[in-house]
Amino acid sequence: MEGIERLLDCARQGNAEALRALYHRFLPGIFGYMATRVPDRATAEDLTSDVFLQMVEGIHHLRAEDEAGFTAWLLRIARVTVAGYYRKREKQPAHLSLPGPAWEPTHAESLLLLESHAEADPVQWTQAREDWQAVVKAINHLTEEQRQVLVGRLILGYDVATVAHMLGKKANAVKALQFRALQSLQRQLGKPRSPMPALQKQQKEEGE
């Protein structure tokens, strides 16, 4: 893969291909961040779109030179976008809504899900949706740093040193944040009822 530094340079100079490459590299991370912060997929997609459009607007003025700096910048935009979303939602008048689709899989997701869990049925999907809402709630209870560590480590696949550079912290601090984040999630989600029973089952099968 082309170096992020070079891609950044090219994107700043107006190279659309470089911008595309950056987008593909960071889309999973940003979408993952959004998906863990808001209760439904449609909102997560809207907010992800906002982040990348803001990236396009601001990339010419960006000072970050390396991957960690660029990731930190994107996650900052994401955090502000989510905060704006919740602020706006607080101001809106309360209204009754029918049970929404929330994390009901789209057609593509359904295929994805069916592919990995052929036995999954709508009951399981509903269960999964409710479970995921519990996950989102639990993740929203984490600190921003803990969330960013999880995104960096679990979704973007960065090593501890890169995440430490991204957050401006030491490696040990990142390890502690990672541990506390997972521990807190485990505490809030509860051991008996795991967040993803279907996935748990799959894991068991893989173990065997």
């Binding site: 987008y23 991370g29 998906a35 593509a108 996950v135 990672q178 997972l182 996935l199």
Partner: protein
Amino acid sequence: MKPLEERLNDRLEQAGWGSGRTGQHPAGFTLPVREREHDWEVDELVALARRLQQAYQLQVAPDFARRLERRMVRRYAELQLQRGSRRRSFCSLLRARPALSAVLGLCLLFCLVSTSVLALAAQVSDPTSPLYGLKRWEQQVQLQLSGSPADQATLDLQFARDRLKTLPSLADTAHARAYRRALADLDQQVHAAAAAITELPGGAQQTHLAGELARLQRDAIHVLRGLLARLALPEQLGTTNELARLGDTVPLVRQAALTLPAHPHARATISFTGLDLQPGAHLLVDGNVSEETGTLQHGQMVFVLDGNGNQHPHSLGMLNPDGTATETTAITIKGAGTSGTPGGNQNDNGNKPTVTPTPHGNKPPVTPTPHGNQPSATPTPHH
């Protein structure tokens, strides 16, 4: 045993996380049963992390990814076009209206020149330079724009220090005029600072600024005393006056008395009364240095001179061994029973000077000594 967070991280690293394999499920995730049994707490966290990572809710829908990519690239292209057109429109405006571009060019040139001149003026230290006036103006503007009396006093002190710094470079005969002007500026600035500090209300700030002023005065005295030896007599006189105003102890002549001899071949005496007179001083007659040295007698400095001259002194003074110089025009001339009033002199009783003439006339003569143009006061036989 390692702490939990270290063990958890080790397990995650062993599972292949953080190796840059984004979107891939960790390989080799399961550890040997024995180790896992001993680390069940870490196992549970690792399992949770894995479930989170694999959750389909975190996977991007390919449809959405394509749509967003198209939207983003379109927006990027629009922005590129806008940027280009902004640049182009400005250039085309300039091309279409040459007068506008000429005016803009002139404005730019004016700004450039003014900034350069102001920057140059700020560096000028020679008071005779044409840019020095501009520098003073800049400083006046700064003073007027200063927000509070304390800021004004601080600026006054800063400008006074600035003047003091320029003096050593002007302390030679070639820069006599510039030196005198810089000295006058220093005096003015020190007094402005003192006045500004006096007007401040009492308090820590006033005490601090008063301390700064005292330090400036001490520094100024030290610098000016060091310059005395390099200066010509007029600048020495000016510097001595400034030293006195800064609070330094310098010899000060209040009055001079010229006693003319009774006959032409006798010797005249000049005695000075004043403060802090120093033995070994040289006599100054009308701004010229005599080789005669004075002696202190009963608190007066006395000079004995040859008696063959015919000039009348307008000023008498002393050049002291430490380089300070002082002079006076308050001269009392004493002779054998008569008195006169040479121009500009004063006597003990009022503004009109008194001359005590010689037996041969009423004009006391002062003539140069045989060593040059240094005068000595002598009675004239006929006048």
